[in-house]
């Protein structure tokens, strides 16, 4: 697999979109967290301790892993989009065929793409780890690994987005269409998830039934549902009417979805005409 990844690196290292989007992603991760950090600091400075909410510090070491993972989760679209482009480019240039003709097996071809998705997820997660560490130190609090599991959830979200990207690319094949479908799917699922979430709130209020946020059981939102903003005075106030986050249910479901995306993409590439 190492050799295959080296070949993959030869393909992408001079690809302008890869260079630009990677740099943009790094800047976006830092900028997004810096904005959250600054807004919180400014509010705290301007309002002092007049409002209890302001005593909450999202980047204290107690919260930094969760806050950074949550905030960065919104820009995971970038590596996913890049993966859509990298895979559909192979179809556009028909280089996937050439790779097979030259001696890659279909299994190797799709495996290395999935491995690339994994590498992107690992790099994104490392970036989140370093960013969380830096902002944690900047908050002036004592080092702690409390909430480090959220970095793991971030990794799960990253790999989910990346595998969905690969699946859509393998199914659609054309860059423009695949990108469109990716956004439509993302928007569509989020819309349905929000509707389901509202229904969950209504169920809890009306009948006292708490199945958790139903939207979190959808494929993309399952990984999303694992990441939330750290508990603070505002969320604590809302807790009474908000459904519970059943992580014990969402986590295995997210893993099942991941397995489905992986198997589907792999089977499609191995068995279809190229």
């Amino acid at each position: 697999m190492g050799e295959l990844l080296k070949i993959e690196w030869l393909k992408i290292r001079r690809y302008t979109a890869f260079i630009v989007m990677s740099l943009f992603f790094i800047v976006a991760v830092i900028a997004t967290n810096y904005i959250v950090f600054s807004v919180n600091n400014n509010m705290a400075n301007n309002m002092g301790n007049a409002i209890s909410m302001m005593s909450f510090s999202p980047y204290s070491f107690e919260n930094t892993w969760q806050t950074t993972s949550y905030a960065t989760g919104f820009i995971l679209l970038l590596p996913a989009l890049l993966l859509v482009m990298l895979v559909t480019n192979e179809y556009t240039f028909k280089t996937h065929r050439q790779n097979i003709i030259d001696g890659l097996s279909r299994q190797q071809f799709i495996s290395v793409k999935i491995m690339l998705a994994l590498v992107f997820a690992v790099v994104s997660t490392l970036l989140v780890f370093v960013t969380a560490l830096c902002f944690g130190w900047a908050s002036g609090t004592n080092f702690s690994l409390h909430g480090i599991q959220f970095v793991g959830f971030f990794f799960l979200k990253a790999i989910t987005y990346n595998l969905i990207a690969i699946l859509i690319a393998v199914l659609i094949k054309r860059t423009g269409f695949a990108t469109g479908v990716f956004f439509i799917y993302l928007g569509g699922e989020n819309f349905i998830a929000k509707m389901l979430d509202l229904w969950s709130i209504k169920l809890k209020q009306d009948n006292g039934t708490d199945y958790g946020s139903l939207g979190d059981y959808l494929p993309m939102n399952a990984a999303d549902g694992l990441l939330s903003f750290p508990k603070n005075p505002v969320t604590n106030m809302a807790m009474n009417f908000m459904p519970t986050d059943y992580i014990w249910a969402i986590l295995p479901l997210a893993l099942v979805y991941l397995l489905v995306f992986y198997t589907w993409a792999r089977r499609k590439f191995i068995h279809a005409d190229l």
């Binding site: 302008t16 240039f93 097979i100 001696g103």
Partner: protein, 306 residues
């Protein structure tokens, strides 16, 4: 030894049957031409044996072995158009192919020199002309000095000098012991280069064998046949009067002309005189010896794409 053995290979796209139970073997050391009009199934056939397409039914083996990625590393293949990463240079593209085949940098330099692209090794693929792209693709097939080469329309996009160059290269490679499988719709190309030929039409294998045996499969001796290309302003009238002329065995309409196969006893003068006596003035009359083209037309019963 058979390099490639295909048995009852079929490929359906829904109700369309692109290949219908095609079977043949490619003997070692030959230049094996797969000949057929556009859309006859040549590329489909080669795509299946290179694992790009999945056969609906049937099987094939390379050198007696099941198709595998490792086996494909020993085959140099150019299928349809050259497929490379547009944003990478010639050298970078070949480096990817070489790494897949497990070959080193020395091979890259060697093949680039062989196709006269060494000076342009640093240029991006997107900046190449069609002919240069084709030559780069041929260079890619030669990486690792494979024993078997598969070319699908290898002279596509090349100028006449380039075409001659590639033909010579193919002949030289064959002389060096390589087996070459070449799909083409250009009859002249196949005739000049190939030792063996399979003719496919609408997915059906019409005939297969050495070029000379295919030529001799005709009902009459090759020496007794000529191919005549002729045209007149009124092609319909010409076609009509020729049906009255004896000795014509086959007549097909090409683009603004007729191709007839007839006995070699008939001379150009006789044809001209016959037409003139019936008020048709010919503006083309070309007598050819019986060629693969004539045989192809005879087998397929239609005009080739020259």
């Amino acid at each position: 030894m058979s390099i490639l053995t295909i048995q009852q290979l079929s490929k359906n796209y829904g109700s369309l049957k692109a290949l219908k139970e095609v079977s043949f073997s490619v003997p070692e050391g030959t230049v094996f031409g797969i000949l057929g009009p556009n859309g006859s199934g040549k590329t489909t056939l080669l795509s299946i044996v290179m694992d790009i397409l999945k056969a609906t039914s049937g099987s094939f083996v390379w050198m007696g072995q099941e198709n595998s990625a490792d086996l494909r590393k020993q085959i140099g293949t150019l299928l349809e158009t050259p497929n490379f990463y547009h944003y990478l240079s010639a050298q970078e593209n070949l480096r990817i192919a070489a790494r897949i085949k497990g070959r080193g940098e020395a091979d890259i330099q060697k093949v680039l020199e062989l196709v006269n692209l060494y000076q342009r090794k640093g240029s991006k693929f997107s900046s190449f002309s069609l002919g240069m792209k084709q030559r780069l693709a041929i260079a890619s097939t030669l990486l690792g000095d494979p024993k078997i080469l598969v070319f699908d329309e290898p002279t596509n996009g090349l100028d006449p000098a380039g075409i001659a160059e590639i033909r010579e290269l193919i002949k030289t490679l064959n002389k060096n012991g390589k087996t070459i499988i070449m799909a083409s719709h250009i009859l002249d190309e196949v005739e000049k280069v190939c030792t063996h030929v399979a003719i496919i039409q609408q997915g059906v294998l019409k005939t297969v064998g050495s070029v000379s045996s295919v030529m001799h499969q005709s009902a009459d001796s090759i020496l007794e046949k000529i191919l005549v290309e002729l045209s007149a302003n009124d092609l319909v009238a010409l076609q009509h009067i020729l049906t009255e002329m004896g000795g014509i065995e086959n007549m097909v309409e090409a683009e603004h002309e007729l191709h007839i196969t007839c006995s070699s006893e008939i001379t150009a003068e006789q044809i001209n005189q016959f037409c003139f006596s019936r008020g048709i003035i010919l503006n083309k009359l070309l007598v050819k010896r019986k060629t693969l083209e004539a045989r192809f037309l005879e087998i397929t019963g239609k005009q080739s794409d020259k």
